[in-house]
Structure formats: C-alpha cells, structure tokens
Amino acid sequence: MNDVAPASMISASTDAPIMHVPPADTLVLEARKLDFFYGKNQSLFGVDLPIERNKITALIGPSGCGKSTLLRALNKIYDLYPGQQATGRILLDGKDILSDRGSVARLRARDGDVQIDPANLDVSALRARIGMVFQKPTPFPMSIYDNVAFGVRLYHKKSKAEMDQIVERSLRRAALWDEVKDKLSSSGLGLSGGQQQRLCVARGIAVEPEVLLLDEPASALDPVSTAKLEETLMELRNDFSIVIVTHNLQQAARISDHTGFMFLGKMIEFRPTAELFERPQSTRTRDYVTGRFG
C-alpha cells in the first residue's frame, strides 16, 4: 500500500500549478492546456510544459503520473495507437502541431473558438524534427553504421563521403565513436546496453532534430553507463533542446536546467531545477523530492 499517495495530497490536487515559464522567445516547444486520453481514460489534465531552447528539461513524478504520456504526446508517437487522443495545443517554434481536423474540433469544443496557427507538418516530418530515445535500447537489426544512417537516408540523398562524416560526427557527439570506430559494419545488437543506448542517441541526433525526447533513457543501464550517458546529454545541450523523463531524482538534479514535477496527470510545479529541489513551493513537490512518497 506504500505506493498510494496519502489522501491529503489527492484532495489538494485542484490547486493551480506553480509555473515558472521562461521568456516566450526562448521556447522551442510548448504544450498548453494539454489533455490526453487513452480511450475513455483521461491521463493528462490541462498540462502546460514550456521547453527552453538548448536546455535540458526534466520531468519527474511517481509512476503513472503522466510524464511519459506527456513526452509521447510531444512527437505524436501515440498516433500509432487507435483510441489515444490529445486535446490542447502543442507549439513547435510557435506553430501548432495538433492541427489535424479532429484535434482542432476537440480543442474548440473545449475552449471555444481558439485561433491556431498550423505548422503544416505531416507526422513523419514532425518526428524528424523531434527525436526520441526510449527506455529500453532499440538498436535496429543492422550494422552500427546503418543504424546511424537510417534516419538521414529517409530524407536526404548523401554521398558516401558525406554519410561517413555524418555517422562519425553523430557517434562522436554521442560519445560512442572511440568504442565502435573499428567495427562500424558489425551489428548494433552486439553492443552492451549502455553502448546501445548511446547508439540510439547517435541515431536520433544524426537527423539534426531540434528537440530530443528521452523516456527514462538510463533506467536499464548500470551506473557507469548512466554517467556516460548523462555526460553525453550535457554536451548535446549545446546543439539540441532536451526533454528527459526520469525516475531518478538525482539525475534530474544533476543534469537538468528546468524540472517539472507531475502528479496524477497534472503539472504541479515547473521551475528551474535548483529552485525546485532546494525550495519546492508545493507540499507535494516537497514530499516527493525529499523522498516522503513516490
């Protein structure tokens, strides 16, 4: 019964979220009043999430609080599954990506006649701009080289030399190059778990997305691999905007610039990481980051 939050916490969940939103012109991606449904079950309730450019934003919260759901809404990967729906606005560089007819109709039914500015991206082009790395490493059953080149080949015709460069650069940026440079043609499945995860990062950044979403990328890794991955992410911050879902509070505290604490499908508190961990304003945030529940 330890994983059930005390009743006092649930009753307080109608409070307005404590949001510290960075200036609008620094945002690359933004969710506004986002609701999410798995069939009839609503799992996100009016969530706001600002993602600042070239920063790491961490999402924390107990299991089932909706942080992965929120992440999966941002690149519309939920789209694969019939019955999953998002209602609200998600802005990529200020343009609405939830602009299909159904989403707009649901948004207007909820909020009245909202003006939207459609991004006019099909879902594949959107995902090329918002990369994703998953909890379990997902190398494709092909060579290390082909893994990294996979996404690039979808959109660009590159010469062999250009592709070699892209592959090397991506692997270097993912801090994997030195370990694999002599076996680029061997299968990606032969790497260790930590290496596989960094291969997935390299594959994700090879297409030069603006945003990289990571869903508990270190939860299947040992401490040494985790440290390496974190170092990689800190480096990548210079070129990409990163959103990371993590169960590991120390990890969020170590690497992120902003942290959002979610609970029962709501954003409770979103603030610069140091402030959120050192001076949490919501009692629920305080209880969670001090380890009283979760």
């Binding site: 994703m132 998953f134 997902t138 299968s187």
Partner: protein, 279 residues
C-alpha cells in the same frame, strides 16, 4: 514423509516421464531414418539422377520425378512465401484486430489443418477440369495452398513477437509505418520468417494426395509445366505399391531423397539465419 523428500521424488518422476517421452519420439524418428537409409542407400547411384523411370525389370532412375518435384515445390514455395508473408504482415501490423482480420485468421487456421486431399480436389475443380488437363502449374498451386497458411501463421506470430518500441523507434525518426515494417521489423524477425518458410517446405515436400489430382504424374521426363508432371511422392506411391522389386527399391531411394532434401534445406536455412543474426 518430509516435504523436501516428497518434492524430490515428484521431481524425479516428472523428469523421468519427460525423458521417456523424448526417447519414444526420438526412437520413432531414428527408426524411420534408419529404415530409409538401409533400404534406400543401396539403390542410390548416378542413374537415379540421370535416367527417367524404367519399365519393370530395366535400368532407370528418378530424374523425371526429381525435376518435377523441384519445379513444383519451388513455384509453390514462391507463391506461398509471397502470399503468406504479406498476409501475415497484414494480420500482425495492420488489420489483425478488425472483425475482418479475425475472420481471416480463423479461416487461415482452418486451412492450416485442412486435409490435403481436399486441397487437391479444390485445385482439380478450378485448374484441372476447366483447362482439360493435369499440369505442373496445378500441382504447384495445390502445394502453395498447403504451405501458405503455415507461412502466414508463422509470419504473424513472429512479427507480433517484435517489441512495439522497435516500431516506435523507427517511426520516431520520421519513417513511415510501411517502411519501418519492411526495413526494420522484417529484418528483426528474419530468422522467424525463414522458419515459417522452412516449415511450409517440409510440409509440402512429401505431399502426395493433392498432386494425384493436379499434376498426376508422368513417366517421361518433362520440364513443361502446362503438362502432367512427375514428382517424387506420386512416383513413390506408384512404385511402392507395385509388385516389382526394382520399382520398390526406387521408391525407397525416392523417400530417402525427400528426407535428405528436407534435412538439408532446414540445416542450410538455419545456418544462414544464424549467420545474418550473429550480433
């Protein structure tokens, strides 16, 4: 009796039963292979592959039957693999959960266990009678109808085993669904898809009943698929039941050849799968 001892005894009884069952199954297999080798190896010589089937009492081989079997099995397998992989992919990746998908799966399972003689009769009605003649093509189609449900079923099972995160990972890079299936999922399931094809081949390589109605058999050498065609199973059927010792010896050789072919194709296929899947 104390509990740990009782468990130990129960365990040994169970392991013993499992071992005995394995021995019975293996014993039957070894006995079959042994009798095939003992009876077939003596008649195996170059004539088997170079000469067509003889009149009783004269020298001959099985060249016409071997060629016919290779032709019809090859065409049948190509048809079965194309249809089976596409249908299995559709069931696993697209429409498997729709009412139509459930109907397709159910009918496929029915076909999977359909008596092969019915398949032969069916093809006889749609390909032999309307065209006024037995043909190699009709035989190939009958074999394809037997192998396709196996390939379909295995393909669906193997694709369903692939984790969803792999599909998501492909699509998260901006690839379309069909592209991810072809370039990632099929590859990841490669060894499984091959197993399906091998199972299909093993099933049809010895089928006799459907060929009796469709390709009939042919005592002369023929590579013309529009004409009646010899095959190893029908030749074995004819020779094994005959009164002539030399024909019966040829039947044993034919049976040995089929067993060796299935064994060889399976071994080679598995080696290839291991080769491409070695991390």
């Amino acid at each position: 009796m104390d509990r740990a001892l009782r468990r130990k005894i129960t365990n040994s009884i169970f392991v013993g039963l499992c071992g005995a069952a394995t021995l019975i199954a293996l014993g039957a297999l070894v006995f079959i292979l042994w009798s095939l080798v003992v009876n077939g190896i003596g008649g195996l010589d170059l004539n088997i592959f170079t000469m067509t089937q003889p009149a009783p009492g004269s020298v001959g081989g099985l060249a016409n039957a071997i060629t016919g079997s290779i032709f019809m099995c090859a065409i049948g397998m190509v048809l079965a693999i194309v249809v089976g992989i596409l249908a299995g992919t559709w069931l696993a990746e697209y429409g498997g959960q729709t009412p139509y998908g459930h109907a397709v799966r159910f009918l496929n399972d029915v076909l999977l266990s359909a008596p092969s003689i019915l398949v032969g009769l069916f093809v006889y009605e749609i390909l032999v009678r309307p065209f006024h003649g037995f043909s190699g093509y009709a035989g190939a189609v009958a074999l394809a109808l037997l192998a396709a449900p196996i390939v379909t079923r295995t393909t669906e099972d193997m694709l369903t085993l692939q984790p969803n995160t792999l599909r998501e990972a492909g699509m998260a890079l901006g690839a379309g669904r069909g592209f991810v299936i072809r370039s990632v999922i099929w590859k990841a399931a490669g060894a499984g898809l091959l197993t399906g094809a091998l199972l299909g081949f093993a099933r049809i390589s010895g089928e006799t009943a459907p060929l009796l109605f469709t390709s009939l058999g042919n005592q002369f050498f023929s590579a013309n698929l529009t004409q009646p065609m010899a095959s190893l199973p029908t030749t074995i059927f004819q020779f094994a039941l005959s009164a002539y010792d030399d024909w019966r010896r040829l039947a044993w050789v034919g049976a040995l050849l089929i067993a060796v072919a299935v064994l060889a194709v399976n071994t080679i296929g598995r080696m290839l799968a291991r080769e491409t899947h070695r991390p």
